[in-house]
């Protein structure tokens, strides 16, 4: 991480952060975002995250970036996983246990078919 020593540096840092995000979007990269706020963890998000990372490793799935986020405010539906592929609108899934997580990876992320019975209409 570069040190920011002035306002110009800060503006540059912002541009770079935005550029990185655009590169991801343009490359059609798949992003899987797991809600890891305390409510998510209480509902089992750690197991979900583990299942996602294990599946990616076991099946050698490439081009998937897994990140985390905080509480999105739908605590009753935790664990929550959001999927963003390239420029497409974000799809939010609720009640994602390890099994559902694997289905999301295989059906939606790899084969482009959202797992409709777990999608939350935002």
């Amino acid at each position: 991480m570069t040190t920011i020593k002035s306002l110009e540096d800060l503006k540059k840092a912002r541009e770079e952060a935005l550029k990185k995000r655009d590169v991801k979007a343009a490359a059609g990269t798949a992003q899987v975002i797991v809600g890891m706020g305390t409510c998510g963890i209480a509902a089992g998000a750690r197991d979900t995250m583990k299942a996602i990372l294990d599946t990616i490793e076991k099946d050698s799935l490439n081009g998937i970036i897994v990140t985390q986020t905080g509480c999105i405010g739908l605590c009753e539906k935790e664990p929550i996983v959001q999927v963003v592929i390239g420029n497409q609108p974000k799809v939010t899934y609720g009640k994602v246990d390890p099994e559902v997580a694997k289905r999301i990876l295989k059906d939606h992320v790899i084969n482009g078919k959202p797992v409709s019975d777990h999608v939350i209409q935002m």
């Binding site: 305390t38 409510c39 963890i41 209480a42 509902a43 089992g44 739908l74 605590c75 009753e76 935790e78």
Partner: protein, 159 residues
Amino acid sequence: MTFEQIDSSVIQKSVDEAIQRYGAKQDELIPILSEVNRSIGYLPGEALDEISKQLKLPKSQLFSVASFYRMLSTKPRGRHVIQFCENAPCHIAGGRQVWQALVDELHLEAEENSADGKWSLLTTSCLGICGVGPVMMIDDDIYGNVDPKAVPDILSRYH
């Protein structure tokens, strides 16, 4: 394992490490007490003596602080500490049945330790994850959406 006397060297080490980490100053008292409580499981009198010596604070003052805060205990605790949320939102979400399941399974009432030294059953104030109530913590693990029927299984994960 029952509530044996904790070895003096263990206590000394825990206190020394905590004071080294935070510094021997009064305003670091609560972090130091919390750290020692965490590593030993509670705050034995010997630990308070040692902290009193190193921080140059009267032991009565230490005891007064240690007894004020819910998460610090001057009494021995079990190896595993269950903290069950007893506040309104969890209560509304079905907390009573989960509490009953805990009491039935452990044969303990609130603030009690099991005879074999394995469990402490405590109630706690709101943990702030009311969206997934009923809620409880066992040591550092957080459990939400707790089903009374799942209680025996959850407890069996701890040894």
